[in-house]
């Protein structure tokens, strides 16, 4: 809060100085601004109200923490130590809300926007920003359509759905092979909106060719009051692996009901699982979460910077969720582009982002390289809940644990 106030008064101070400078002659103006290190406005756009407000608030936290750190470390040096001035926006959990906020940020004169969170919001906001050639860094939004529309202003630092699903399947085979192919049958439980149904369809198409038989695919609405019937079905089918494709609440209810009904398959394995790699779930229901594997966004557990950030976020009483570190990273990416562009000009920032090779991040990614706006270096991690903690089990170079598979009954 205090930094916010400080920046507000600073902005007011600068406008006054600029006005005086303008009055005293146009020649003097640039030098005055330069001496003051005119702040660069950065749009920070998240759904902080409505259905997605938890994720949105976490995302905003990550972005503002990164901005605070960059400003405290002396701002953008190539711009004379210019500070980054966050322009916070609320997408109200809808694409329309996000678009309206982009319009507002554009007229506010932001140099770049970070955020969006949900795929449907990102699809709308990137397009709205494209009309103004306003560079936009997508924080999460995994839908592949976001970066395949040829929008020059749109960049996604994290991996998209296609890459995550492919990695998840490859790693499932890898884990199963390493254990001597003990698992042969799979049951899929998914929520019936775009995310769950799309994933279930993909899994049904891909799993048989990888040597797994899909015994049954069960769908349910969100919210779902009761998972007992579904767990009864799982019990009767007795699959080796259960794959849930659910949002947080339903994921937790399913895992709890499975524990209650003593249903313990060889593995619970999920792709972008709503709760599978969530510290909140592990803390609140360690027994239900035990052994669950997931392929999801994750930070590099060997990065000291990542661990320091985790500590800082936890000191604020918040969980270190993927929204936090993805947004933190996206702001770092923009700051690096600003540094190299040495300008707050939108076209120059876009060019600097497109040619980015940023490596100072906290993610388990290869070298940053944007192709059509997608960071080709981005990759998900496989995690598993072990010893009341979440360990990375794959890829090997970032792992801090070994897969426990099959799970002990």
């Amino acid at each position: 809060m205090s930094t916010c106030k400080f920046q507000l008064s600073r902005r007011r101070f600068l406008t006054t100085t600029a006005a005086i400078a303008a009055a005293s002659g146009s020649l003097a103006m640039p030098s005055v601004l330069r001496a003051a290190g005119a702040p660069v406005k950065l749009g920070v756009l998240h759904p902080v109200s409505g259905a997605l407000s938890y994720s949105g608030t976490q995302g905003r936290l990550g972005a503002t923490m990164a901005i605070e750190e960059i400003n405290a470390a002396g701002g953008i040096k190539s711009l004379g130590g210019a500070k980054i001035d966050a322009v916070l926006g609320d997408a109200r959990s809808t694409p329309e809300g996000g678009t309206a906020e982009v319009e507002k940020m554009n007229s506010d004169g932001v140099a770049c926007i970070v955020g969006g969170y949900a795929s449907n919001i990102c699809l709308a906001t990137t397009q709205a920003a494209a009309r103004y050639d306003l560079p936009y860094v997508v924080d999460v939004g995994v839908a592949d359509g976001i970066v395949t529309r040829g929008l020059k202003n749109t960049f996604r630092f994290g991996p998209g759905f296609g890459v995550i699903a492919k990695t998840a399947l490859d790693n499932l085979v890898k884990i199963n092979d390493a254990a001597g192919k003990v698992a042969k049958t799979v049951m899929i439980v998914h929520e019936d909106s775009l995310f769950g149904s799309g994933l279930a369809k993909l899994l049904n198409a891909q799993l048989p060719s990888k040597g797994f038989q899909v015994l049954e695919t069960v769908s349910h609405p969100t919210p779902n009051r009761d998972f007992n019937t579904i767990v009864l079905k799982i019990k009767a089918q007795n699959p080796d692996i259960v794959i849930p494709a659910d949002y947080y609440n339903e994921y937790v209810l399913l895992a709890r009901t499975m524990l209650q009904q003593h249903v313990r398959p060889k593995a619970i394995y999920s792709v972008l699982g709503g709760a599978a790699s969530s510290y909140k779930f592990v803390k609140e229901f360690p027994d239900a979460a035990k052994g669950i594997m997931d392929c999801n966004h994750w930070f590099n557990p060997h990065s000291d910077k990542a661990l320091a950030l985790k500590k800082k976020v936890e000191a604020k009483g918040q969980f270190f969720t993927y929204e936090v570190y993805l947004n933190y990273s996206c702001v770092g990416l923009v700051a690096d582009a600003l540094e190299r562009a040495a300008s707050a000009d939108r076209a120059k920032i876009t060019a600097a982002l497109a040619s980015s090779t940023w490596s100072g991040h906290i993610m388990p990614y290869g070298p940053t390289k944007f192709v059509n706006g997608q960071n080709e270096g981005a990759a998900p991690c496989n995690t598993q809940v072990q010893d009341n903690d979440i360990k990375v089990i794959l890829p090997a170079e970032f792992a801090n644990g070994k897969a426990i598979f099959p799970m002990k009954a």
């Binding site: 938890y54 769908s219 779902n224 019937t229 079905k233 709890r256 209650q260 009904q261 239900a288």
Partner: protein, 301 residues
């Protein structure tokens, strides 16, 4: 090697090893639905309004039970604190807000309850954000082995508690003066008023009883369910169906209706999947309205 998956899953679904536990599960779930419906039907039976604030009050009660647990009060113990507290809340709401705002026209009450629902839900959202909260009671994962299935202890406790509440409610309605007054007002409002019954007081007591039912339901739900500002709504739509099925204003109707709906939901989600599980409920709802609009136990209008 690759078996066609459909026949296998049909065989599984038809075996008694899964149907019997599914019916049992439906009864256990249905009991809690019945308790939510009980409060709704009581208010309808006497005030002749549909209480749209029912879901929001359930959510508020779930938050209360959640925070009671944070202070070390077990949800089942909290019933004895929250039921009287929410009775008072319900009484005050009807006496001080809904009643006066209705200006003598019952239809206005309906709109006022809708307004209260909006206020409660958004106040909760403002105060607690959209976060999902859960409590971890030590017995949450305990289950009893019946040989053919496991039954979670909290669900059995819930089942028993619902019947206890229904019994207490029945005793109140049958043997106490207040109960008699409530029934008198439900039957003939003007007549009751002429006989010296304080109708405003009876209305408020009824609303309080309905709200107390919701508080008890919340305490029974919290050990196995989650709390967030819209958690209660998931139960209220079903409760409306139960009220219609059992007969508007009928206490035994709500109880039986709840159990029936629970079993129907469980079986239809077994056969058609959970996405279509709700269809069974609403088919019954529509069929009931067509064939017997007064419901199973409802008095014919």
């Amino acid at each position: 090697m690759c078996h066609p998956p459909l026949p296998a899953s049909i065989l599984v679904v038809l075996s008694p090893a899964i149907i019997i536990p599914a019916i049992l599960n439906g009864l256990l779930t249905g009991a809690v639905y019945a308790l939510v419906a009980l409060g709704l039907t009581l208010v309808y039976g006497v005030l002749h309004i549909i209480n749209f604030a029912h879901g929001a009050l359930l959510t508020a009660a779930m938050f209360a039970a959640f925070f009671a647990y944070q202070f070390g009060i077990d949800p089942y113990v909290a019933i004895f604190l929250l039921a009287p507290a929410f009775f008072a809340v319900g009484y005050a709401l009807q006496r001080l807000v809904i009643g006066p705002a209705a200006h003598g026209d019952d239809r206005n009450m309906l709109l006022v309850t809708l307004g209260i629902a909006v206020i409660i839900e958004n106040a909760l959202l403002y105060a607690f954000r959209a976060d999902t909260r859960t409590i971890d009671v030590p017995y949450a994962f305990q289950s009893i082995d019946f040989g053919f299935t496991f039954v979670a202890v909290p669900r059995l406790v819930g089942f028993a508690a619902v019947f206890a509440v229904a019994l207490v409610l029945w005793l109140i309605m049958t043997f106490t003066d207040t109960g008699k007054a409530i029934r008198a007002v439900a039957k003939e409002k003007v007549g009751a008023e002429l006989a010296g019954i304080d109708v405003a007081h009876v209305y408020a007591v009824t609303f309080g009883l309905g709200t107390a039912c919701v508080a008890i339901a919340a305490c029974l739900l919290v050990p196995t369910y989650y709390v967030n500002p819209s958690a209660g709504n998931a139960f209220v739509l079903v409760a409306f169906t139960i009220v219609v099925l059992g007969g508007m204003g009928s206490v035994p109707g709500a109880l039986i209706g709840g159990l029936v709906i629970g079993v129907v939901e469980s079986l239809s989600s077994l056969f058609f999947g959970d996405s279509l599980g709700q269809v069974g409920i609403f088919l019954i709802f529509i069929a009931m309205l067509l064939v017997r609009p007064s419901g199973l136990f409802g008095a014919r209008a």
